[in-house]
Symmetry: C2
Subunit: 349 residues, 2 copies
């Protein structure tokens, strides 16, 4: 569901954005259409990843907020194209995130179906990336190509830094923030800056908007990480506990390791170590083990204030994001951006 | 070794190109340099893939052949940048080709080391792709960005078409050629066309050069496929038999299946089927099996003319590639392009 649908204010603006998002979906499908039916079949598979359209929404609201009228009249075809480009980039990262490593495949057994095999996932992701740059170059504005490619460079660095710190139980907060700033927040910030650049808004407007997107992106990732740890699958709508399974320390765990007793720390590390080593051969057995491990992690965290610490930090970043757009003209669209930032915390979208 | 080193003619031109290729290597390293040491460590891993620099060489010789003087004076910084861009693209595809599917991982056992794990390979490949577009956008020429992205779209389609035809023992020649035209030849053709476009050569020069690169690319891939089947690792310098192991029918096998007796066809299919199903748990056992299977395939093909058929087709494509540059000015560089095309067949580089 879109980040905007649950907000009851600004009905007209929300409708304009929903309309533009539908156009983005059309451009997305059009760009990926191939003369090869086998490619089109795989592309339909991508639809399972279609989510909240956070990044295209950031392009659209930033485009509106930085335009003279502060509404959809400020959006050009170029905004819809850039919105499609960033969604293609984001989809590619989701598809590539699904590529499994050897240890995981062994643990999960033989159930991974052919369509979602590793090689198909890699090639499909590459097809999405290639089309994102292809569509972007149709804008005939090299500066935009450069900004988007700059952001994707940074996203890849974030992913590589995260990979390099897998099973690093000494990961510090600073490195954690460096990872999520690069892998998530840089693209969010770029979405907002590019939208302003497209109608030649003053550079400080681009800076304010970049800062808004970046802070919102960091907050979004913190909340995502918290939910992966202590959310319920019914609410979040995806498999949880993946970070622990992949040996990824996130903010609540880093805080816990730094603020608990030796014995508590040892207990958590024992659980983390247990979850990242091959565990049994049957898929069903492995799934049960994940549930037990996640329950054990939650039991350990419950009496601590580590989850609240992470949520507080996210809230403070949302405040910073909102402060950053305070200098923009006081339009309905600016109000919408403030609501969007708040929605990251309640995560009802 | 570079495609040019074994050619004893045109010493001065070859030296100019070798010099430009060294500059390309410098740009390659410069573009990938990160402020994160973990990224730089992984990037050094890419050097193991550094090969014949076929694609950058195509950019450079085409840039020289389509310039007024027919030598390195016709090369601009933009040529060296595009040469680096296409090498980045090619390296990304090599790194992503190394991502293994479940069946293979199971067959190969647990020997895949951490550095070359699937997830690192995917992210490293993405980093290379992203930087290729990033560097390309620095040219400030959207038409070039568009042509390169068009080519990478087509490369991905070729890879996906190949994947869709894995274990398809009824694959016909037409589809085989469609696969290699897309996955290999389109980028080679684009290398040549872009080089001409960079100094505004007449569009028919771009067309001639594209055709040269495309035909050379198809021939190159046919020879590559033949060597994977009947070459020796010592000569070719890489693990062979991978196509059979991956259930990929290539030209000699397609020809054999269409021109042999029922009993011969059954024998080949039995071997092919045997090689693509999980085979034993130990790595050593699996390796021995591959050698035995490849020997069996070679024994079956030896009395047939299927390998010669494929080589003859490659030779005819090289002729077409050479004919395509016959209309260019008669310079030493054109002569070099003819030699390069011939070198694809002898494959002594």
């Amino acid at each position: 569901m879109s980040i905007l649908l649950l907000n009851q204010n600004n009905t007209q603006l929300r409708e304009q954005i929903e309309f533009a998002l539908a156009e983005v979906e059309g451009l997305f499908a059009e760009e990926l259409l191939s003369d090869l039916s086998c490619v089109n079949t795989l592309v339909t598979h991508v639809e399972q990843y279609r989510g909240k359209m956070l990044r295209p929404t950031l392009v659209l609201v930033s485009g509106m907020a930085s335009a003279a009228g502060g509404d959809a009249a400020g959006l050009s075809d170029a905004h819809r194209i850039v919105a499609t480009v960033v969604e293609l980039v984001h989809m590619a990262t989701l598809v590539h995130d699904d590529v499994l490593d050897e240890a995981e495949i062994r643990r999960r057994g033989c159930t991974v179906n052919e369509l979602t095999g590793n090689e198909a996932a890699v090639m499909l992701g590459d097809y999405l990336i290639s089309h994102s740059y292809h569509l972007c170059s149709s804008l005939d504005r090299p500066a935009i190509n450069h900004l988007i490619a700059d952001a994707t460079n940074t996203v890849c660095e974030g992913e590589l830094l995260q990979l390099a710190n897998r099973n690093n139980w000494g990961l510090d907060e600073q490195t954690y923030f460096e990872i999520i700033r690069r892998k998530t927040a840089s693209l969010c910030g770029t979405c907002c800056r590019v939208a302003a650049l497209l109608h030649e808004a003053p550079s400080e407007v681009g800076d304010y908007l970049y800062n808004y997107g970046e802070k919102l992106g960091i907050a979004y990732q913190i909340v995502d990480d918290v939910l992966d740890l202590v959310g319920t699958e019914k609410t979040v709508g995806k498999t949880l506990g993946r970070d622990v399974q992949k040996g990824k320390l996130t903010l609540p765990l880093i805080h816990y390791l730094n603020h608990s007793t030796d014995s508590q720390r040892q207990q958590l590390l024992q659980i983390m170590n247990g979850s990242t080593s091959p565990a049994g051969s049957s898929t069903r057995g492995a799934e049960l083990l994940v549930v037990e491990q996640m329950d054990a992690v939650r039991d350990l965290l419950a009496p601590s204030d580590s989850v609240r610490y992470a949520n507080d930090l996210a809230a403070s970043l949302v405040k910073q994001a909102k402060a950053s757009v305070a200098s923009l003209p006081d339009t309905g669209c600016r109000k919408l951006m403030l609501d969007m930032a708040d929605a990251v915390l309640t995560r009802q979208f």
